[in-house]
């Protein structure tokens, strides 16, 4: 009974599927069902995952964070309605491109900080006050947010920053010297500090 026309089981045309897939992306956005849109872009610090809710950019992730794992986490914490939909990330991708090209010193993007809470979010809200090319120590940032003793907690807030690059945790350094740890790896941190010192 296994003899059936081969045509029934042959794969669909890839072009047709790509067109249907693009239509789904548009329909999802139009119907308000695109809870998390994402894309990946190339950069001097490796491939970056960019994800946005309707409120704004919600996640920037380095390759070493494992993009598949990051997407799974977004699906669990925000909504499983996650689709690759580069259009919503056009502005973010363009501003990052300008930043890496040395043509932009501050980001002007709506942000969705809902992945962090409490003190961590407070720290992340204040990080953009450290301007391009400047650095602060963890202790100075603790003082900046009005809690000078919370040096370790500032470190945690930087390490768990869901929006690296755009929220510039790379400008926070240990008082003991050296670049210190970074969510994108120490090498990426040095690359960014060198770019901004240029």
């Amino acid at each position: 009974m296994n003899v059936i026309p081969d045509y029934l089981t042959s794969p669909s045309d890839a072009g047709t599927l790509a067109r249907l897939r693009a239509g789904l992306e548009r329909a999802a956005e139009a119907e308000g069902l695109l809870d998390v849109a994402y894309t990946t872009v190339d950069s001097p610090v490796g491939p970056l995952l960019l994800a946005a809710t309707p409120k704004g950019l919600v996640r920037v992730a380095y390759d070493i964070e494992d993009h598949d794992r990051v997407l799974n986490t977004l699906a669990q914490r925000l909504s499983p309605r996650v689709l690759r939909a580069p259009k919503r990330l056009d502005a973010a991708a363009r501003e990052l491109d300008e930043y890496f090209g040395g043509r932009r010193q501050a980001f002007d993007l709506p942000l969705d900080l809902s992945l962090s809470r409490g003190f961590r979010q407070l720290v992340q809200r204040h990080l953009p006050e450290i301007g391009y090319g400047q650095t602060r120590t963890y202790g100075q940032v603790a003082a900046l947010v009005g809690n000078p003793k919370a040096v370790r907690a500032v470190g945690t807030a930087c390490a768990t920053n869901p929006l690296p690059l755009v929220v510039p945790c790379h400008r926070v350094l240990p008082a003991s010297g050296g670049p210190g740890r970074y969510v994108g790896g120490q090498e990426a941190k040095v690359t960014l500090l060198t770019l901004e010192a240029g």
């Binding site: 081969d6 029934l8 309605r81």
Partner: protein
């Protein structure tokens, strides 16, 4: 469900399109595919983690295809706005047009059973849930459909395929 919906589209998009093609022919299949995945995206957060995602998608496609078939039956005789509508069967210029003709000529239940078992690879127990009726009835409908296809489709491209 807590897996990104993107993965569902990547994993099942192709098979759902092939199921829709068997149910409706190539032209209407695209609309059915789009409506199926949009409805699936809407309902996805409420789908239990233990659910069989493919069977769930095929169930949605089944309902969407029934809507299309009902709409077709309600359509009056060709009206002047669509005098030269292409056939809804098969890919235009496709050498397998005869096969589509034979698939389209099957009774609905047989065509559905063939699509869900031979294209989607669902077990008959799942198909019985979708079609309503017993597992044996689903198995018989698929077998009768394939028998009829072999009889009515005399094309050369009859090849073995996994069940």
């Amino acid at each position: 469900m807590s897996e990104p919906f993107e993965k569902v589209v990547a994993r099942h998009g192709d098979v759902v399109l092939r199921v829709c093609r068997v149910l409706l022919g190539a032209h209407d299949a695209e609309d059915a595919w789009s409506e199926t995945f949009l409805a699936a995206l809407r309902a996805y957060p409420d789908l239990p983690d233990t659910a069989n995602t493919e069977a769930w998608l095929v169930t949605i496609a089944h309902r969407k295809a029934i809507d299309v078939l009902r709409a077709r039956k309600r359509l009056p005789a060709p009206v002047e706005e669509v005098p030269e509508a292409p056939t809804a069967l098969g890919v235009p210029g496709d050498k397998d047009a005869d096969l589509w003709q034979a698939v389209a000529a099957l009774p609905d239940k047989q065509r559905q059973a063939v699509a869900y078992h031979y294209v989607a690879g669902l077990p008959y127990a799942e198909i019985a849930v979708i079609l309503g009726g017993t597992t044996d009835a689903a198995r018989r409908a698929a077998a009768d459909g394939i028998k009829s296809l072999r009889k009515n489709y005399q094309g050369a491209a009859m090849e073995g395929a996994p069940s």
